[in-house]
């Protein structure tokens, strides 16, 4: 059985937990976020003709008050960087976090998810910016935890990237 540790990273209230909730089975209450800053969930996916158990560490949002504990990221095979498409700052924070990760842990498979794509009116990320990110090597997804759009796809792309590693 193949297992992979996957971290969910992103600022406060960008919808990480909602994304995970759409995707996984869970036994722990969301109170864990506020107590120890992390909640562990699981999903078994089928990729490249084998079952892979993804163990998600949904890490409490990074913001000006709280820095992500890098120790929680140890041993991860990949991560899902989540930003809120209606708040540009969350994308900047996410990318800063990604940089910090690469600096401390090296290059790790990741996907970038621009969440809340259902809220098109408030969308703050220009298409140019997205193309630029893609050019920088990011796998970028516009997703919506509300409608479920691109959620599965983002996770499976990440899984494939991790398996190639």
């Amino acid at each position: 059985m193949l297992q992979k540790k996957v971290c969910m990273l992103g600022s406060f209230s960008v919808g990480k937990t909602s994304l995970v909730r759409r995707f996984v089975e869970s036994i722990f209450s969301e109170q864990y976020h506020t107590t120890i800053g992390v909640k562990v969930d699981k999903k078994v996916v089928r990729a490249v003709s084998q079952d892979v158990t993804l163990v998600f560490w949904d890490i409490h949002g990074e913001d000006v008050f709280q820095k992500v504990q890098i120790s929680y990221l140890r041993g991860m095979s990949g991560y899902l960087l989540v930003a809120d498409g209606t708040r540009r700052q969350t994308l900047e924070d996410a990318l800063a976090l990604a940089t910090r990760i690469t600096e401390t842990m090296g290059k790790i498979p990741a996907v970038l998810v621009l969440n809340k794509c259902d809220l098109t009116a408030q969308w703050e990320i220009e298409p140019d910016r997205e193309s630029k990110l893609a050019a920088d090597g990011w796998r970028v997804f516009r997703s919506s935890a509300k409608t479920g759009e691109s959620v599965e796809e983002a996770f499976s792309q990440l899984t494939l990237a991790m398996l190639k590693q």
């Binding site: 297992q3 992979k4 158990t53 163990v55 560490w57 504990q69 041993g75």
Partner: protein
């Protein structure tokens, strides 16, 4: 080395080279490398030849295995040999099962016996346990707890009787927090091990980060309510044991040893872990050894078998009691039936028992005892039996006698008896009852004849008594006179009373009485004078009696002079008695004229 040797092997001569030079070179080469070349040749032959290689290995193979085993409890050898041995065994069985069967025979028997006895012991223990817990006060409390918490009763029992039990052991990859292996004690419900392991790691790191512990210090244990989680950490792995209750401190040592062992045996798999948990399946045995449990000592020790024995005893007593009671009832019932059959005036035709009710059909004389009462006396509830007894007249001696007594009301002094239809009356009875008896007894059902030969008539007895009293009375007269001697009044008075009673008694006997008043004289004087004198004397008494109210119809005065003397006249006293009046009573049974 072999390659070098090859490179330095003699170069075959070429047609272009100078023959002299070549020869000299060959000689030189031969001088320099010949011994080495021969040695190399031999080594080469040895390596090329399979037989030689096998020969070499065969001489050390046993020592090599021995040496490896002595190096420690390394599983590698066992793991390497396991597939071959398994295959060998399979092949052996396939070819001839008898060989292996013969070899295993001495161990199979004891193994099977041990397994069976162990199973039985466990069964008995759990039976005892269940019995004890379900019978005791504590058991009832636990039942309530089980009901309240919604947990199975068995789990509650386990929770309370357990000193400690290691329910789960996690082997976790330290860096990723991914679970490498996970073992669970039987009948323990678990959460998803991957998520639990992840969370455990997260908590570990949280603790480390929160308390800013420098370096590699780790959380040793966590506890909540009755569960403790003990954690041991090695460079690449984390061992976490979920323990219900309180494990002794030496369990920590066992964990350390197991983890060291795993770290040593799986060091490269741990270091190169990329999420593939397959290699760590082999650590399962080591982890299973950590799943231990210890139960609380039972107070009193012998309590458990006693509980079973008491329960078995109670059951046995109930069964025996029931069987005994049923047999007793049947026995009582048959006894009652026998008694009923012997009961005069009751004829039993059929008996059966259905649905716990007894049913008796037959006949009963109204004078026979009440069967319901007999039933009660035998200890049965009359409501549980149906007695269908039709009335009839029994000719049983006892019943006939009883019937005769009911109908004839015999007076005290009369004893009735009956045998084969003959009713006999004995004793004394008034003539009226005797007549009643003689008239009615032959009509009674079951009476064919009567016997009164031993029955005395009280009226006749009285009559005879009065008769002899009267006839013995002697009324004495002075010489030649017709008036009684002085002092005879009392005798006359008694005679009169007796006479009156005699007349009444004669009537009771249904007949008539005739009383001769006989006048006597002594032999002095002439007969011609004595005869009238005797008659006068009789008349004198007749008149006295008539005056006293005695019915004269029955009285016949007559004079007999000296013809019927009472005594011989040798003395004056004799002569005196002959100057008298006496009575003579006669009874005629002819019915009185109405």
């Amino acid at each position: 080395m072999p390659e070098q040797a090859q490179r330095r092997a003699p170069i075959p001569p070429t047609p272009e080279s100078q023959p002299e030079d070549k020869q000299a070179l060959d000689e030189l080469r031969h001088l320099i490398v010949a011994p080495e070349q021969e040695g190399l040749q031999e080594i080469r032959e040895r390596l090329d030849s399979k037989e030689r290689r096998a020969e070499d290995v065969s001489s050390v193979v046993a020592e090599a295995i021995q040496m490896r085993r002595e190096q420690g409890d390394d599983q590698a050898l066992a793991e390497a040999l396991a597939p071959t041995i398994q295959e060998t065994l399979r092949e052996s069985v396939r070819k001839d099962p008898q060989v292996l069967a013969d070899a295993l025979f001495p161990v199979m028997g004891p193994a099977i016996r041990k397994s069976i006895s162990e199973t039985l012991r466990t069964m008995l223990e759990s039976f005892n346990e269940a019995l004890e817990h379900s019978l005791s006060m504590r058991g009832i409390q636990w039942r309530i707890e089980a009901f309240r918490t919604g947990k199975p009763f068995a789990e509650i029992v386990l929770m309370h009787s357990l000193l400690y039990r290691v329910e789960q052991v996690f082997l976790i990859h330290r860096e990723t927090g991914l679970v490498l292996n996970h073992v669970v004690a039987p009948s323990v419900t678990t959460q998803d091990p991957e998520m639990v392991a992840g969370m455990l790691s997260a908590i570990q790191q949280f603790a480390r980060d929160s308390f800013k512990s420098a370096g590699e210090e780790t959380l040793g244990s966590m506890n909540f309510e009755e569960v403790e989680i003990w954690i041991e950490v090695s460079p690449d792995a984390v061992l976490a044991a979920v323990i219900r209750g309180h494990a002794p401190s030496d369990y920590r040592l066992a964990m350390k040893e197991a983890l060291e062992n795993i770290q040593q045996n799986f060091s490269s798999a741990l270091a190169n872990f990329k999420g593939e948990t397959g290699p760590f399946r082999a650590a399962g045995d080591r982890l299973h050894q950590l799943l231990e449990s210890r139960f609380k000592e039972k107070q009193g020790g012998t309590g458990r078998p006693r509980a079973a024995m008491v329960a078995a005893g109670v059951v046995l007593a109930i069964v025996l009691g029931w069987v005994g009671y049923s047999s007793y009832l049947l026995w009582e019932w048959s006894r009652f039936l026998a008694a009923l059959r012997q009961q005069p005036g009751i004829a039993v035709i059929s008996v059966n028992k259905s649905g716990g009710r007894f049913r008796v059909q037959g006949f009963r004389d109204p004078l026979a005892p009440d069967p319901g009462k007999l039933l009660s006396e035998a200890g049965f509830d009359p409501k549980k039996a149906d007695l269908e007894l039709m009335p009839f007249y029994s000719v049983d001696d006892v019943i006939v006698l009883r019937r005769a007594k009911e109908l004839l009301h015999p007076p005290t002094g009369v004893r009735l008896s009956e045998k084969n239809g003959e009713l006999r009356a004995e004793g004394v009875a008034p003539s009226k009852w005797i007549a009643h008896f003689e008239e009615r007894a032959p009509w009674i059902a079951g009476v064919n004849s009567i016997d009164v030969s031993h029955l005395q008539n009280t009226d006749r007895i009285e009559f005879n008594r009065l008769k002899s009293a009267l006839e013995s009375a002697v009324l004495v007269f002075p010489l030649g006179r017709t008036e009684l001697e002085p002092g005879q009044e009392a005798t006359l008075g008694q005679g009169e009373k007796d006479l009156q009673a005699l007349i009444i008694q004669a009537e009771r006997l249904g007949g008539a009485v005739t009383v001769d008043i006989v006048g006597h004289t002594d032999s002095t004087g002439v007969e011609a004078a004595n005869l009238p004198l005797s008659r006068q004397r009789a008349d004198q008494i007749f008149n006295v009696l008539r005056r006293a109210g005695v019915k004269t119809a029955s009285l016949r005065p007559r004079g007999v002079a000296t013809s019927e003397p009472l005594r011989t006249e040798v003395t004056e006293e004799g002569r005196r008695y002959n100057r008298s009046v006496t009575f003579k009573v006669a009874f005629s049974p002819a019915p009185p004229v109405h």
